[in-house]
């Protein structure tokens, strides 16, 4: 017992050191942890705004049809009616913001059409697909098909359109999101 009390100094010094440590911890925490950390959970609330800050590259169809109102009319009732403009034309938010400075580039139909319509075993069987070389040779797809309303009406006395073309369009139970 006497040994314990005789060394009271040690305890006091240890307690003081501990106190300094704890105080230091809280001071450093106040200095370095952002004020908004932990508002919603174990993360920085400002990170939500950081994630929102990125500019959009795709403008969305609503922005496109503000000027190009003729295209939805042309596509009406066609197989490509529900496809958003930028699915084929690429991201064009820059063009939507400044149509004179940033011009949209017309896609090459031989490349673009093949992306979806080149025959592939893994594609759903009901999706219209063709062997491009056999179907079109060296011809551009747009020589016969209109891009925005692609179904070619069968000529008199001819059988229906190309393979796959006779299949009804894929159902769209979900429709549009916007």
């Amino acid at each position: 017992m006497s040994v314990f009390f005789g060394h009271r100094g040690h305890l006091v010094r240890m307690a003081a050191l501990f106190g300094v440590g704890v105080t230091g911890f809280f001071v450093l925490q106040a200095l370095f942890v952002p004020k908004d950390f932990g508002v919603y959970g174990h993360y920085r609330a400002g990170a939500l705004d950081d994630n929102r800050a990125r500019p959009a590259a795709f403008a969305g169809r609503a922005a496109c049809v503000e000027c190009h109102s003729d295209v939805p009319d042309a596509a009406k009732g066609g197989r490509h009616e529900t496809i958003r403009c930028e699915a084929c034309h690429g991201p064009l938010a820059g063009h939507a913001a400044d149509p004179t400075e940033k011009k949209a580039v017309r896609p090459d139909p031989r490349v673009l059409c093949a992306r979806c319509h080149a025959a592939n075993v893994a594609r759903p069987a009901r999706f219209p697909q063709v062997d491009i070389a056999e179907h079109a040779g060296q011809e551009a797809c747009t020589a016969c098909h209109t891009a925005h309303n692609p179904l070619v009406p069968p000529a008199a006395g001819q059988p229906g359109p190309a393979p796959g073309g006779t299949v009804p369009p894929a159902e769209t139970p979900k429709g549009e999101t916007k």
Binding site: R44, F58, A87, R115, C116, V121, P124
Partner: protein, 254 residues
């Protein structure tokens, strides 16, 4: 002077009778510009996605759109979303043959033939936006989190690049950005969906094989879809609370 007083009265009147957000919107309307979604409230939304495997044609539009929209490195191991091609023997779904050349960025060159007793299909993959994310649970610094509106996001300024979350994700949806050595993943285009747009991948999908869903919005057609279709999430046994629902998913898909 008179003008100033009128302005002051109009402003204080709006402040009195409208909430702050409504006043912001009202001011934007007065100025004649579209407001940057001042009324977006995280508590009003719960984001997820519906993927209809039967509609995916493997065109790779989503992969290209995502890389463009989110400035994802073009390296073939950096993908926020990618498309897999499955080649499954009809009687042996334990061992599917899966390939994803450059994530489907350049499309899928034909590899298989019809009539060999197999089935072939595409499966788009992305972050499943889990409600109980393993990746969030392992992050030692709070650099990745589930946002109040149900999107798993990354705080790039906080990420140490320790790669714990890359290993924890059961779906392989995370990668290290070689430019910053921090983790990156699908943010469900958080910068778009909070402004009333859909994600870049959904915008670019020509067949509506992927559709953004707001599970808290009673008017969202997602509810009707989930009622009328038999859907599945990936690896349900992991209990991750995935909010990416797959329709027409084959049992061979991992």
């Amino acid at each position: 002077m008179n003008e100033d007083r009128r302005d002051f009265l109009a402003r204080s009147g709006r402040l009195l009778f409208l909430t702050g957000a409504a006043q912001l919107a009202f001011d934007a309307v007065l100025r004649g510009e579209p407001e940057a979604a001042p009324n977006y409230r995280t508590t009003d939304h719960w984001w997820g996605m519906i993927i209809d495997v039967e509609k995916c044609i493997g065109c790779g539009n989503c992969v290209r759109a995502c890389k463009e929209e989110n400035d994802v490195p073009r390296e073939p191991f950096c993908f926020r979303t990618w498309v897999e091609r499955y080649h499954v023997d009809a009687e042996d779904m334990e061992r599917p043959e899966v390939d994803s050349p450059n994530g489907g960025y350049d499309g899928f060159p034909e590899r298989y033939r019809t009539g060999d007793g197999s089935k072939n299909f595409f499966v788009p993959k992305l972050c499943n936006q889990c409600a109980h994310s393993p990746c969030v649970q392992v992050c030692p610094v709070g650099a990745t989190f589930e946002s109040p509106d149900g999107v798993v996001l990354v705080d790039k300024t906080y990420c140490l690049g320790c790669r714990y979350c890359v290993q924890a994700c059961p779906y392989g949806c995370r990668f290290i950005d070689p430019r910053t050595e921090t983790v990156d993943k699908c943010s469900l285009c958080y910068h778009r969906i909070t402004k009333g747009l859909t994600t870049a991948c959904c915008e670019a999908c020509p067949t509506d094989a992927r559709v953004l869903a707001d599970l808290k919005n009673p008017k969202d057609p997602v509810h009707e879809f989930l009622r009328t279709h038999k859907v599945q999430v990936l690896k349900p046994q992991m209990a991750t609370g995935s909010k990416t629902y797959y329709n027409g998913l084959d049992g061979s898909v991992r």
